[in-house]
């Protein structure tokens, strides 16, 4: 076991050993989660330094977007505002968190190149940094969620504990997507553009701004769309609806397979990542 006062680095190879080393990196990062948290707070406060509203500027712009889309599209779709606007509000806020984690994941290792090339900080620390930063941002945007739920009376039917479980599933899955994007972007500089395009595409094929019920129940773009399940696990309970069991099943399998694949890739090329940067 490695401690603060003992460091061992070897050129030993072999799949088992590489996985042990990757696991050690993970453990070390968990032991220093407070560092990742400090870095994340620093990111947030330095990005909005000097501005009056800070991260609430993004909240404000999201709020305006929700109002605009909510009012106009409710008319276009012919849906009552009190059914439609909360859907859009929650959709935009939580999809924003998903796409934030994945898009910013592309920069996770690239931005950390200075620290990675001259300290022994765990690489996972920077993955958590990106995730925590987006959770902090989400915390600000919850103002919109709470406001809308209270204004339209959904607080009476909202099931917060189930939504929190859903949020865990969301973060769990956005986490490996974020890390995978980070590893891929370190090696291939085209990845951030591709990821950006995919997330742009995803916001339209996912029921962020439209009702899933307008499609037939088992439509393919709902069934195989990971973002739909991630969003639904959080949004449905907040709007007093049931989350379909197969959504949890989908998310659990996706998290297990996704982390399995991501961790394996990380274990395999971990020692190379610092040279990509």
């Amino acid at each position: 076991m490695e401690t603060a006062t003992h460091m061992l680095r070897t050129g030993r190879r072999g799949p088992l050993f590489e996985f042990q080393m990757a696991a050690r990196d993970l453990r070390a990062s968990v032991g220093r989660l407070d560092l990742a948290w400090s870095l994340a707070w620093h990111d947030v406060s330095s990005r909005y330094r000097g501005s009056i509203l800070g991260p609430f500027w993004i909240t404000l712009s999201m709020g305006l977007m929700v109002m605009g889309i909510g009012v106009v599209f409710a008319n276009l779709f012919g849906i009552a505002l009190h059914d439609y606007l909360p859907l859009v509000a929650l959709g935009i806020v939580f999809f924003g968190a998903i796409s934030g984690m994945i898009n910013e994941g592309c920069d996770t290792f690239v931005h950390a190149s200075g620290m990675l090339s001259q300290t022994s900080l765990p690489m996972f620390t920077f993955v958590w940094r990106t995730i925590f930063r987006n959770i902090i941002n989400l915390g600000h945007h919850l103002v919109i969620v709470v406001g809308v739920l209270i204004y339209y009376g959904f607080w009476r039917v909202a099931n917060a504990p189930v939504a929190v479980i859903g949020l865990l599933f969301l973060v769990l899955n956005a986490g490996w997507l974020s890390m995978l994007a980070g590893i891929a972007s370190a090696r291939f500089r085209d990845i951030p553009q591709i990821v950006g395009s995919v997330m742009q595409f995803a916001i339209y094929v996912t029921p962020v701004m439209w009702q899933a019920s307008r499609l037939s129940r088992h439509h393919i773009i709902l069934d195989v769309n990971p973002f739909y399940h991630m969003l639904e696990a959080v949004r449905a309970p907040l709007m007093g609806a049931q989350v379909a069991p197969h959504t949890y099943l989908f998310l659990a399998i996706m998290a297990a397979v996704g982390w399995g694949v991501t961790f394996s890739i990380f274990a395999t090329i971990r020692r190379r990542i610092v040279h990509y940067l």
Partner: protein
Amino acid sequence: MKAPPVSISCQGLTLRFPVYGVDAKSLKKHLAKITVGGRLGSSHGATEVTAISGLDMELKAGDRLGLVGHNGSGKTTLLRALSGAYEPDEGTIEVYGRIAPLLDLNLGIDPSASGYENIRLRGRIAGLTSKEVDERMDEIAAFTGLGPFLDMPVKTYSAGMQARLAFAAATSVEADVLLMDEWIAVGDAEFQKLAHKRLLKLVERAGILVLASHDLDLLRLYCNKVMRMEGGIASPVTDIRKLDELMAAA
């Protein structure tokens, strides 16, 4: 459990860099025979630079090792490997003791943040807890001599002031193993003296110093051992008094 004594041990240490995004063939043609830099080779179609090959080294408490060699001979790579950032391709590195890499003073400095915030950030990156940073804050702040400027964003500092801040923050961590790429000299004449004293104290407290430098007189001053690197191949660790012989040998 008592911690084992401070030591560094490298055995058969070999480091290769894959070089991405270059035309492997032309680069190889151009650089293969040049003495500056490591050796280039290729495997799996990607160009590889062998930055360090088969390095053996044993250091114990009290050793002050100077590294000499051309640009690109592998000195910085070795320091980065000792800091734990680069993984060996072959061989092992084992270090007992807290490591403080002072390779890049500006590591983690955020120009838009205030002086205090930067000291805090740097301390956290170096492995201090929030509480430990708080305990040291007064001493670090006093050493920078920046007074009220510490509340201002670092981007408003002059280069010299920035260097003072970075130096004070980076040298606030006591360590057993100190890694330095060139002896650090920053600030105006008066600060340089202070910085020099602080650095000496740090070196005294540290069990081991590894210092890469091109300045032989400087190495004679601070080191008791020396190792010469050339094209990634290291000489044995020898006594500093044999520095001239070592330099003449090539």
